[in-house]
Symmetry: C2
Subunit: 266 residues, 2 copies
């Protein structure tokens, strides 16, 4: 099993679909799924009966919304939903060395039995700024076809709307929580902008948005351009991009509840 050659085990393994989710997780208002997901994504999701999710409860809630658009191939109570282990959430997913005894292949048995599977996170694209890459990697290693479906990716919507350099950018994930280390990290990232023109994209757990915002205004030089995109795809969406100097003259700050993407550069 652990050394199964690509394609060598089952006659016809299933495919692993990467199913994007809407960006309204944890938000009071929800947008219609058809606002943010193409019909083909919803139809494909409705055909699946086996899932690997960041959170099974969120996955079920999402399936319920899909069912209202396209009837599910199997009723909710008959869907097979497994969860990524807690320790692979957020930061532990990629570095295999940090995850003792975790073998993503254990979740992929249905694929080898011929079932298509869906990988889904709580919001946006699985395996991007979210757990799941270890599952994708394991699928490739088993010779399984991986099919990414189109849907919202907050990082990229934010970058496109920032006016920053979309031809060279980096997503840096989370910065340190310690104030001094965070300032140091932001300054190091801005040095990268200066040396290479690369735009820097960051996210934070929503309740730390205000702290990150203050840190950005403090650590970046006045001439840096700082963009923010809150509540993307939602009615309360807020996108703005201006110099740090100009931001320092405003009262605006992100709230503690709305998913927000931050980006900066020259």
């Amino acid at each position: 099993m652990s050394t199964a050659a690509p394609g060598g085990q089952a006659a016809a393994p299933g495919r692993l679909f990467l199913v994007p989710a809407p960006l309204d997780f944890g938000c009071e208002q929800q947008a219609p799924l058809t606002d943010v997901l193409p019909q083909a994504t919803l139809q494909q999701a409705a055909r699946l009966t086996h899932w690997i999710s960041e959170n099974a409860k969120t996955c079920r809630a999402y399936l319920k919304r899909i069912d209202a658009c396209f009837p599910l191939a199997a009723p909710l109570q008959e869907q097979h939903i497994s969860e990524l282990p807690r320790h692979v959430h957020k930061k532990g997913d990629h570095t295999q060395g940090n995850i003792p005894n975790w073998d993503a292949r254990s979740l992929l048995a249905p694929l080898l039995a011929g079932h298509d599977m869906g990988l889904v996170s709580e919001a946006g694209m699985p395996a991007v700024a979210d757990p799941g890459s270890s599952v994708v990697r394991a699928a490739h290693d088993l010779g399984v076809q991986v099919v990414p479906l189109v849907g919202p990716v907050s990082l990229l919507l934010a970058l496109a709307a920032s006016g920053l350099n979309g031809q060279s950018f980096a997503f840096q994930g989370y910065v340190p929580q310690d104030a001094a280390a965070r300032t140091q990290r932001i300054r190091a990232l801005f040095a990268l902008c200066q040396s290479s023109g690369q735009a820097q994209v960051l996210i934070e757990t929503p309740y730390r948005n205000p702290a990150l915002w203050q840190a950005l205004l403090h650590a970046l030089p006045p001439q840096a351009r700082l963009a923010v995109a809150s509540g993307l795809t939602l009615p309360q969406a807020h996108v703005a991009s201006r110099s740090v100097q100009a931001w320092r003259r405003t009262e605006w700050a992100p709230d503690k509840h709305t998913p927000t993407v931050f980006a900066f550069g020259l």
Copy 2:
């Protein structure tokens, strides 16, 4: 005009919509728009009558396809379509210093006259791996609301499907064409993977895909993971991810016609 304060000119300026396009530009087969674009994106695009495009001809062809899904607010011959100047295409968009006499605000007059506008590139998301960020930036500077719409972004679909680190990655655009400089650049990028875990994402003009592929196989060490995503969202889509060592034992190579995204890491 050139110093118009944000929001200070017209009573109600229009909004700038970033309208993603399907990924089948230049491909023989085209997928239905509803496979890759949410209904809300198509409906919003159909409402617009003023466009800034990478290429006016491609923009008209796209509008024709949109019209088949949702009737356009104005017939094709009455749509106002301006083009980004040649010299801001691809590499010149962001660095204003490189673009003498280019002021993106010259394209935004319809916004100030109260018209909503669409920014569109030939494939995927405008201003990401494509020109347009100078227009977005100018819109912000004029106090115009920027609204990114959901659609396919090949870079992110490829990254999600790669099994590489989606929690820290960089899009590096194009590498040098000179063989020695290209090898050096690829090795420098792989050093970044090793020092920080950051996955590296690259694209190339399709006719240079085979050369870049050979360079990657040559320059990366055997243990590096190399992923490729060709023809994403199309019937001929090909997504694969394996070690460089394993790739060297295969015959596969990307063709010269299909848009392809390359990614590598640990």
